[in-house]
């Protein structure tokens, strides 16, 4: 799946910016796809390959949780 429209491009930019501020020694384990440094993740996001799409989907899912209030609800539920 390749990034196509301007909304996708904005999301991609956001994901890249988010990854860029992660510490260089951090690595993300993305299930059976492997474990990746931030540079590797940024490469996959730029390529728009299956790993990149997975990372973008995680970001999208998180944005939805923020905007719908699901994240705050989950955090406050257990207070």
């Amino acid at each position: 799946m390749k990034m196509q429209n301007s909304m996708d491009l904005s999301l991609k930019e956001l994901v890249l910016a988010r990854l860029d501020i992660m510490p260089p020694n951090f690595k993300l384990s993305v299930g059976d796809k492997g474990t990746f440094t931030k540079q590797e993740l940024m490469y996959h996001v730029n390529e728009g390959d299956s790993i990149g799409v997975q990372v973008i989907e995680m970001q999208l899912n998180f944005i939805k949780a923020l905007t719908t209030g699901k994240l705050i609800e989950a955090i406050n539920k257990d207070e």
Binding site: R18, F26, K27, G31, G34, K77
Partner: protein, 207 residues
């Protein structure tokens, strides 16, 4: 040879084994070469074990063992898990396999409907249990089995783990307020695990 992910999962699983030993709960550690389909099927069939903790890679319909050999498949041997309490710390098996595993039985399946992911600090790759970054994700997942062997129901174990994740998400939000650059990226991944964690089948199953 293990990848970083399975290295971390194994290190955290050792804490669960330690807790089981402390409680006098008998365990069988099918790790490395013994994490193969033949050994797993033999063990489940012969011992009639009640609790099955899978730790490794997976997908919608499968759980994998050593060198990604499929050990449980929804198309082949998922019925072996019928009436068991299963926790699969593996990607996506909660989406389809988990539902099949609890069909027509009184067991339960706790797992993830999508990817189980976590950040780790590469400085601690050789000593995963010292990695405070990975602990944000792996301690709450360990809590599922720890709660079960301490007498909690499947629902309580599932909720306790989610509560720990919520607490960790709150800690990350506080770090974000203090301008910690990695906090939001870490929170995003933890949210995905939180949202993806599912409990299928008997919600009042006890070990």
């Amino acid at each position: 040879m293990y990848d970083d992910c399975t290295e971390y999962l194994s290190a955290y699983a050792s804490l669960v084994l330690k807790e089981a030993k402390k409680l006098g709960v008998p365990t069988k550690d099918l790790s490395e070469e013994s994490a193969n389909k033949k050994e797993v099927e033999k063990f489940i069939t012969k011992t009639n074990t009640k609790l099955f903790f899978a730790n490794g890679h997976g997908n919608d319909n499968q759980l994998c063992g050593h060198k990604n050999e499929v050990i449980i498949s929804g198309d082949e041997n998922a019925d072996l898990l019928k009436n068991k309490i299963i926790y699969a710390r593996a990607c996506s098996a909660g989406a389809s396999l988990g539902k099949k595993a609890v069909q027509n039985g009184d067991g339960c399946f706790i797992g993830y409907a999508h990817l189980f992911s976590f950040w780790m600090d590469g400085k601690w790759s050789a000593a995963p249990l010292k990695d405070k970054t990975a602990a944000f994700y792996l301690e709450p997942s360990n809590e599922i089995v720890i709660a079960l062997i301490n007498g909690k129901s499947s629902r309580e174990a599932h909720e306790k783990s989610k509560k720990m994740m919520a607490k960790n998400m709150k800690k990350l939000l506080r770090l974000e307020e203090k301008q910690e650059p990695s906090a939001m990226g870490m929170l995003q991944v933890l949210w995905n695990n939180y949202e993806g964690q599912v409990l299928h089948g008997n919600k009042e199953a006890y070990f």
